[in-house]
Amino acid sequence: MLKDNQTAKQDNRFGEFGGQYVPETLMAELDKLTQAFEACKTDPAFQKEFHDLLNNYANRPSLLYYAKNMTEDLGGAKIYLKREDLNHTGAHKINNVLGQVLLAKKLGKTRLIAETGAGQHGVATATAAALFGMDCEIFMGKEDTERQRLNVYRMELLGAKVRPITSGQGLLKDAVNAALQDWAAHPDDTYYLIGSAMGPAPYPAMVKEFQSVISKESKQQIQAVEGKLPDAIVACVGGGSNAIGSFAEYIDDPRVKLYGVEAAGKGIHSGKTAATMELGTPGIFHGMKSVFLQNDEGQIDKVYTISAGLDYPGIGPEHAALAASGRATYVGITDDEAVAAFEYIAKEEGIIAAIESCHAVAYVQKLAPTMPKDATIICTLSGRGDKDVASIAKYRGVEGIE
């Protein structure tokens, strides 16, 4: 962790990936943000306030729950679930939001903007804006506002304005474009609260820092019950915030295998997918050099998955570097497999998990049986699935559920 951050501080890169590929208008803001972020890491007052919010507002630490029924059913490694779905606002997103909102206050900003796909990051940002009395505008692809209507209403209830984005495909990527444009137009009063471990430096390192609470806790928790490190970590990846937070404390320990699970949509070779690491190539987009789904000329591809939160044609730069070095493995899970896992974990464990997280669960269903019974897997349940119930019902052809 420390080693990584020092690397990031020196050159803003993770291997060849990362950097700050944004218009000049934003560079002065990124400089200020970088300074504030570096300072906060060793500022006892900041750390105290951040951890106080995590524990007393966001309901941390989150549980590390032993999934006994799944373990017995799958007949291999012991499965633990890191329950980020039990956080206030229902997903891991709040961890990063609480860290960044404190930085925004320090920088004297009065308005928060954020992109959101599934709506979880938008809800978390709107929540923090309400708590700290800040203006808030959430950029959300038009299509996503339709498939995640409940979260749109939640954000409005919290006092945020939701701006539906119709440009491009009307998805997460287009919401990021619009948020970057808005930030460039209002750099003085506005703070862009990026929700994933992506974008220009310092965001990837900063989101990792604030999300690393997931693995800081899980490492202590698993050692307390198992007396050893886990054998594998499994987390879903869109831009990659819950995955990088789930990996962070284990990256320097190669005994722990790291698996990032991407959304393969209708299948890797279907042309309707969001499986960046399987099909992507290096490129420059959204402020970073990373791996993207794009054509031979560098035009960014259209993406598809049932999951609004994983519907992104790129991946955070540290994930691109972890894949390039072979430290982490990235695999794809299809819509069908994710929906089956959504139903499976509900019936086995009584947990309705977010469709994003169910991509990770689906991979655990494949991985656990290949591992010995004394091995352990920690699977991050990044969010709860209430928001997905209506669309899963529709996927299964159940009528009348809105």
Binding site: T25, M27, E29, I284, G287
Partner: protein, 262 residues
Amino acid sequence: MSKLRDVFQNGHKAFIPFVTAGDPSADSTVSQVLALADAGADIVELGVPFSDPIADGPVIQAAGLRAFAGGITVNGVFAIVAKIRERSQVPLVFLTYANIPFKYGYDKFTARCEELGVYGLVIPDLPAEEAGEILPYTEKHHVDLIPLISPTSGPRLPKLVKHATGFIYIVSALGVTGQRDGFSVNLPELIQQLRQVTDAPLCIGFGVHTPAQAETLAKEADGVIVGSAIVQMVADNPDPAPVIGAYTKQMVAAVQAAQVGN
């Protein structure tokens, strides 16, 4: 010596119109650029479309979509330039996003630029901190990388102008491209600051659309860049070349009036 610098010799003030390559077709772009050159444009800025143009407002975004609908490709843009070169030697610069030359290969992209007479590159998402990765190739192939300066640049100015071999592009307003009536920055002050750290010609863009604006800005700066206003005319007219040519004549006259005024 930079071919772009030649344009500004003896205090000449430049008018620099922008069109998107392939909007709505390759043939139309060729006739648009020739009309701009005939009307007296000193440099023509040609947009190489990118799927996600984050520095551009709705007008230029829409032009990119029309160009894609017309089947534009990066090699298609180079073919447009080759056709223009059969008839005109008007100085050309490209505006594009970093991923386009990165994916094409910086060496190959800048070599094609040199071969076809594209003298400069404007890349809004390649700030000074990242420009080092393309500079060896722009230098090798004698293509000027045009730095962008924003109202927020402040103490960053000396760093930004260090490699300004061609001209400098001053972004006159915050946010994205598009027509504006007012400019959010104290331009005379910014220009004065820049004059202290560079002798490169200073051109102003983002939001300029009327001859009166152009004349006012040209009194302070060495050139005026107009994009969205022209691209909107391309969108509104089935035969845009004569329309943008006539407009460019007015703008050239306005810029030259500022020169006489000096």
